[in-house]
């Protein structure tokens, strides 16, 4: 599982039928210092995350297992909103006010 930040939402009206109703969001992966790490990706979400939230997400085959239907073409799913993440006692990521 990885640390990330939701930076946007994405709508795809035509999609694989097992994925209907599952929100898609843009996620910027973060490193252990809460800094951006690599390029953004699209992830499903199964919680009430939104832009501005620090989150944790799972990638790979297990990402689909969090979805309402578990045999769907998904490789990243947001599993939780992070209230605080500490590295060596330092707060590196936490709850932020939503942009929208």
């Amino acid at each position: 599982m990885h640390l990330g930040r939701v930076i946007g939402r994405l709508v795809a009206s035509h999609r694989y039928e097992g994925l209907s109703g599952v929100p898609l969001q843009l996620v910027q992966p973060l490193d252990a210092d809460g800094e951006d790490a690599g390029g953004a990706l699209v992830a499903c979400t199964v919680i009430s995350s939104g832009p501005g939230d620090t989150i944790h997400y799972i990638d790979g085959r297990e990402a689909a297992m969090a979805c309402p239907q578990t045999f769907v073409p998904v490789d990243a799913t947001i599993l939780g909103v992070v209230e605080e993440a500490r590295n060596d006692g330092r707060l590196v990521a936490g709850m932020q006010r939503r942009e929208s």
């Binding site: 990885h2 252990a32 990402a63 969090a66 599993l79 939780g80 590295n87």
Partner: protein, 102 residues
């Protein structure tokens, strides 16, 4: 499996139901030579590890589900051991009581 250092914890009050009550720790992969081995991950603790510990981590879903005796659940990264010491080419490079010796 890979070696990692526990650098901190993650608190997540809103999350997938299966993760409720489980401890999430921030781990940084390391090589036996004490150098960084990639980006930090969040792992579910199964052994009572804490910050500062060097741990053994699996990052594979099927093994994770077997350890947690769970069915189709979204788990992948788990801490499965706390390292006592590491011997590399006949030399001790890590001792749990002392931390990294070099």
């Amino acid at each position: 499996m890979f070696l990692a250092d526990v650098v901190g914890n993650v608190v997540s009050p809103i999350q997938c139901e299966f993760l409720n009550g489980r401890t999430l720790l921030l781990v940084k992969p390391v090589t036996p030579h004490e150098t960084s081995a990639g980006n930090a991950r969040i792992a579910i603790d199964t052994v009572g590890a804490g910050e500062g510990d060097r741990v053994l981590v699996i990052d594979e879903g099927n093994s994770g589900r077997q350890i947690l005796a769970a069915g189709d659940v979204p788990v992948k990264t788990l801490i499965v051991g706390v390292v006592d010491h590491i011997e590399l080419h006949g030399e001790h490079t890590y001792n749990h009581c002392e931390g990294a010796s070099q």
